[in-house]
Amino acid sequence: MSPTYSPVQINSLLKSFVIFFIIQAGIVIVFFPSIWSLDISYRLLMLSINIGLSAVLGWQLYKKRYRLIFSYNDNGFKLKQGSQEEISHEWGEFSKVSLSRNEQGDFIIRLENSNSFDILVSKLKLNPYDFRTEATRLVQASQKRKSH
């Protein structure tokens, strides 16, 4: 399957980083209250360790929970979010393609038939209008192949 899209979602990555940073900072403040009496160089060292650990753990959380991997070809597409199971569909399973915007302002390509499936194009850093055209072409081509 090609092409494959898996851009880094800065907001989700930052969120993962901040979660671990706050947890570690909280642990230090609660269990080592004497940190405030330490020399500034030690405090800076601890801050650097906190930032480093948060970066490593945040990246792991991002990969497990938020990272999107999307690939498609003329027959269908595959979408995987974090460590969840990969979802795959054929374009021919759908008959309508529409463009939506959710409350966060992210664009979504909605593929509809009896069921609907949303592709989060903003998060995949795809141009929503161009990808809508591409998805419509692929759905129509698939429908034609089916009817022949």
Binding site: V97, S98, L99, S100, R101, N102, F107, R110, Y129, R132
Partner: protein
């Protein structure tokens, strides 16, 4: 496949991008767009759906909840694809179809944009006579860049959606 002049197609794309990016926020939040939407035997180039109750963050959401009505709205776009049959009778038929759609989907307000060229000038008076207050109909001549609108508040204000 029928030909749509690039200018008309460009205008439709511009209108869609504008509404989907919040140009219609003075009245509604348009958030769902369908290309080549078929209603009865008429294929609209574009249908954009929205709601008068804006989504937002905390204060703007509360403000919208307290002050704005919760009305689903829709915006239909027709272009020169239908020109050979776009006369007053066709316009009546299109409006009837939109009315039935509004009834079925409980849509309170609708707009109809017709992107056309010189050939539909005869429609001008027909459009200007429409006084249904739940409709805003706008005829846009892309060659002369003139806009004619229906005699309703929605029609008069609809020019804020589009720049020709």
């Amino acid at each position: 496949m029928e030909h749509v002049s690039p200018t008309v197609e460009e205008h439709i794309a511009k209108l869609e991008k504008g509404l989907m990016s919040g140009r219609g926020r003075w009245i509604a939040d348009f958030n769902e767009s369908h290309r080549n939407f078929r209603l009865g035997d008429v294929e609209f180039d574009l249908l954009i759906e929205g709601n008068t109750r804006m989504k937002g963050f905390l204060l703007s959401r509360l403000f919208s909840f307290l002050l704005n009505p919760n009305y689903p709205v829709s915006c239909f776009v027709l272009s020169t694809k239908s020109l050979q049959k776009l006369d007053q009778n066709f316009l009546k038929k299109v409006l009837a179809l939109i009315r039935s759609y509004m009834k079925k989907k409980e849509v309170k307000w609708s707009w109809l944009f017709i992107f056309s060229s010189e050939r539909t000038r005869s429609l001008k008076s027909a459009v200007e006579k429409i006084d249904d207050q739940t409709f805003g109909v706008v005829l846009i001549d892309v060659d002369s860049k003139e806009m004619f609108h229906s005699d309703s508040y929605l029609g008069k204000q609809a020019k804020r959606f589009v720049k020709v």
